[in-house]
C-alpha cells in the first residue's frame, strides 16, 4: 500500500463501499430492516437514504423470509441487490430462501439463472445481548454449495469485499462481526475491490499457525503478541473466505509451522474450526508435529452477564493457553 491514507472505521469502510456501488451502478440498491430512516441498526448505512432516496435505500417490514426472497428475486430480475439482515440471529427466518432458492436455482435449472445478490449480516457475541442475539452461524452458511461466504476482519476488507462481491454473479453472504464496526485504522484513499477467495497472513510466525476469521482475528493478533513476548512466534492466518476455504493457504502455512490452532466463535461441535482440522488432517497429516487444537465458544446459549459471556467465548488467554499446550509448553 503506497500513497495517501485516511483514518476510517470498519463501519465507514462498509458504507463507503456501498456508496461507491450505489453511485456506480443503478442496478444496485440496499434493502433491509431499518437501513433507511433509522440509518441501519449498526449505523452502517447512515446517511445513504438522504443521498440515494427511499427507493434505493429501502426500509423493509419485519419479514425476513420475504425481503431476502425478494432480494433473490430482484437479482434474478436483473438488479444487484444488497440485502441487509440485521443480524445472523434473524437470518434463520430467511434460511429457506437462501438455501433452497438462492444457492440452488442455478444448478437445479441446469445453469439457466444466476443470483447476484449480496447478503450482509452482523454476527457474533460480545455485547451482552444474550442467548438469542449472540449467534455465530457462519459455519452453517459455509456448508451450502452455491453460496460464497466471506468475513471481513479488517478495514481494508470491509471496504473491498463488498465491491468485489457485487461483481460476483452468484450469491455472496458477508458476515460482519458486531464488535468490529468501531474498529479504526488507516485506509488507502484509493482502496477498492479486494480478492474474496484467498486467506491472508496477518502476522508471520514460524512456530505455529493461528487460523481464524472475523471477530476473532483481533483476539488472535493480541494472543500472538503476548506469545511473542514469551518466545513463541505464531503466524496468524485470516481465512477471509469461509466458502470456498482457501486450502492452499491453510496447508502452506501449516506445513511451514507444523502446528496449528483454530479460533472460531461458533460452538465447538460442528464448528468451522472442526472442518479446518479435518481438512488439514486429510491433506497434511504427516506434516504436523503436534496435535492441533481449537478455541471455540462453550456449548451453551450465550448468557447476558458479562463474566459468563466472557467465559463462554474465545478469549485471548484461552488462545494463549491453547497455543502453549500445542507447543508442549502448557
Amino acid at each position: 500500500m503506497s500513497g495517501a491514507t485516511t483514518k476510517t472505521s470498519y463501519r465507514e469502510a462498509l458504507r463507503a463501499a456501498m456508496r461507491e456501488a450505489l453511485k456506480a451502478d443503478p442496478r444496485v440498491f440496499l434493502m433491509g430492516e431499518d437501513v433507511g430512516r433509522y440509518g441501519g441498526a449498526y449505523a452502517v448505512s447512515l446517511g445513504l437514504i438522504e443521498e440515494f432516496g427511499p427507493e434505493r435505500i429501502r426500509d423493509t417490514p419485519l419479514s425476513e423470509s420475504a425481503f431476502v426472497g425478494a432480494g433473490i428475486g430482484a437479482a434474478l430480475g436483473g438488479m444487484r441487490p444488497i440485502v441487509e439482515i440485521m443480524t445472523v440471529n434473524f437470518s434463520l427466518l430467511a434460511l429457506d430462501q437462501i438455501l433452497n432458492t438462492a444457492a440452488t436455482i442455478r444448478h437445479m435449472s441446469g445453469g439457466q439463472f444466476s443470483v447476484p445478490v449480496v447478503i450482509r449480516m452482523a454476527t457474533g457475541a460480545g455485547r451482552q445481548l444474550a442467548a438469542q442475539h449472540s449467534h455465530s452461524l457462519e459455519n452453517w452458511y459455509a456448508h451450502i454449495p452455491g453460496l460464497r461466504v466471506v468475513a471481513p476482519a479488517t478495514i481494508e476488507d470491509a471496504r473491498g469485499m463488498l465491491t468485489t462481491a457485487l461483481t460476483c454473479p452468484d450469491p455472496v453472504v458477508i458476515f460482519e462481526h458486531a464488535t468490529l464496526y468501531n474498529l479504526e485504522g488507516e485506509l488507502a484513499s484509493d482502496a477498492g475491490a479486494v480478492d474474496i477467495e484467498r486467506a491472508a497472513i496477518r502476522r508471520t510466525g514460524r512456530d505455529l499457525t493461528l487460523i481464524t476469521y472475523g471477530g476473532s482475528l483481533p483476539k488472535c493478533i493480541e494472543a500472538a503478541n503476548i506469545l511473542a513476548a514469551e518466545g513463541i512466534e505464531a503466524e496468524v492466518l485470516d481465512l477471509r473466505s469461509l466458502r470456498p476455504l482457501d486450502d492452499d493457504a491453510i496447508f502452506a502455512s501449516v506445513r511451514r509451522t507444523r502446528r496449528f490452532v483454530v479460533v472460531d466463535e461458533g460452538w465447538r461441535s460442528g464448528s468451522l474450526a472442526g472442518e479446518i482440522i479435518a481438512r488439514v488432517i486429510e491433506t497434511a497429516f504427516y506434516d504436523l508435529d503436534a496435535v492441533p487444537a481449537r478455541v471455540c465458544s462453550e456449548e451453551v446459549p450465550i448468557p447476558y452477564a458479562k463474566h459468563l459471556e466472557d467465559a463462554a467465548l474465545p478469549q485471548v488467554d484461552k488462545i494463549v493457553r491453547a497455543v502453549k499446550t500445542v507447543m508442549g509448553r502448557g
Binding site: A66, A70, G73, G77, D96, I105, H107, G110, G111, Q112
Partner: protein
C-alpha cells in the same frame, strides 16, 4: 371476454387445445411413471388445466411466471416445448432443466419461467422480488405467482402479500384452490376458507373465479393483469378448482371419499365443461376435437421419442453450474 366479445372459433379451439394438450401429456406421464421412466415425485394437474391455459393468455413474453411443483400445465401453457418438458421428466440433458430438476423443477429462462418450486410458499418472495426489479427498472412487466390454497397458511404468503402491496408491485397472486393440500382439506388448514378475503389484510383487491371455467379465468386474468400492469398494485385472485387425481403418485387418497371425487367429476372438469359449451355454442364440434387429439398425440409421441433418445448428462458434469463463471475484477 372482458370487453363482452363472444369467443370466436379460433380462440375457443386454442383454449381447448391448450387444456387437452396438458391433460393428455399428464396422462402419458402417469403411464410413464408406471413404467419407471419418470421417477421421484409426480404431481398431476388433471382437473386444473383451465387455470394455466386461461391465465397464460393474459401474459406477454416479457412477463414472468413463478409456479409450484404442480407445474406441468403452467410450463406447457407458457410455451416451453413439450419435448423439453418430457425430457426433463426423464432426467435427460435435453430437458428444460438439463435433467436436474425433474417434474418439480421445470425452468425456462427465455420464457421467464422461474420454476417449479418444491418448497410450499417458497415462490412467493421470489415473485415479489421479480416484480420489484421491474418496478425499479420501470419495465411494464407483470409477474404472476401461482400457489395452492395450502400455501396460503405459510408465513411467506403473509409477508409477501404485505410487501407487494406496501410497495405496489406489479405482481398477480394466483391461488389455485383445489381444496386439498396433500390430505388436508381447506377447512382443516384455514380458519377463513374464503381465501380472497385475506387480501383485505393487505389492503389489496381480492377476487374469486370459477376454476372450472376457462373463459371466466381468462377473463379475470386479462382484467387483473391489465390493472396490475397499469400500476394499480398487486392483486389476489382465488381460483376454485379441484384436483381429480391423487396429490402425487404416492398418495393412496385415504382422506377423501371416492364418491366426492366422482361427484366432482360428474359436475364436470374444465375440459368436459368447455367441450359441452363449445359444442353448444358451435365453436367447435366432434371432428375438431378429433383433429386436436391427433395433433396432440403426435406431439406427445414425438416428445417421448425425443426424451427416450436424448442423452444423459455426463457424470463428469455433476458439479457444473453450482457457480457461475465469473470475470473477477
Amino acid at each position: 371476454m372482458s370487453d363482452g366479445t363472444p369467443l370466436d372459433r379460433e380462440h375457443a379451439l386454442q383454449l381447448l387445445h391448450g387444456m387437452l394438450r396438458i391433460r393428455r401429456f399428464e396422462e402419458k406421464c402417469a403411464e410413464l411413471y408406471g413404467q419407471l421412466k419418470i421417477r421421484g415425485f409426480l404431481h398431476l394437474y388433471i382437473g386444473e388445466e383451465a387455470i394455466a391455459v386461461g391465465v397464460m393468455r393474459a401474459l406477454n413474453s416479457e412477463d414472468a411466471i413463478v409456479a409450484t411443483y404442480r407445474e406441468h400445465g403452467h410450463a406447457l401453457a407458457r410455451g416451453i416445448p413439450m419435448p423439453a418438458v418430457m425430457a426433463e421428466m426423464y432426467g435427460k440433458a435435453s430437458g428444460c432443466s438439463h435433467g436436474r430438476g425433474g417434474s418439480m423443477h421445470l425452468f425456462d429462462a427465455q420464457r421467464r419461467f422461474y420454476g417449479g418450486n418444491a418448497i410450499v410458499g417458497g415462490g412467493l418472495p421470489l415473485a415479489v422480488g421479480l416484480a420489484l426489479a421491474d418496478k425499479l427498472l420501470s419495465r411494464p412487466r407483470v409477474t404472476i405467482c401461482l400457489f395452492g390454497e395450502g400455501a396460503a397458511a405459510e408465513g411467506e404468503f403473509h409477508e409477501s402479500l404485505n410487501l407487494a402491496s406496501l410497495w405496489r408491485l406489479p405482481v398477480l397472486f394466483l391461488c389455485e384452490n383445489n381444496l386439498y393440500a396433500m390430505g388436508t382439506s381447506l377447512a382443516r388448514s384455514a380458519a377463513e376458507t374464503d381465501l380472497h378475503i385475506k387480501a383485505t389484510a393487505y389492503h389489496m383487491p381480492g377476487s374469486v373465479v370459477d376454476g372450472m371455467d376457462v373463459v371466466a379465468i381468462e377473463d379475470a386474468a386479462q382484467r387483473a393483469v391489465a390493472e396490475v400492469r397499469a400500476g394499480g398494485g398487486p392483486q389476489l385472485l382465488e381460483i376454485r378448482t379441484y384436483r381429480f387425481r391423487a396429490h402425487s403418485m404416492f398418495d393412496p387418497e385415504r382422506y377423501r371419499d371416492k364418491a366426492e371425487v366422482e361427484a366432482r367429476k360428474k359436475e364436470g372438469g374444465p375440459l368436459t365443461r368447455f367441450i359441452a359449451r363449445g359444442k353448444r355454442e358451435r365453436w367447435f364440434d366432434e371432428p375438431d376435437i378429433e383433429a386436436l387429439e391427433r395433433t396432440i398425440a403426435a406431439e406427445i409421441q414425438a416428445s417421448v421419442d425425443f426424451a427416450e433418445t436424448s442423452d444423459w448428462e455426463p457424470v463428469a458434469d455433476l458439479a457444473r453450474d453450482v457457480y457461475t463463471p465469473w470475470d473477477r475484477p
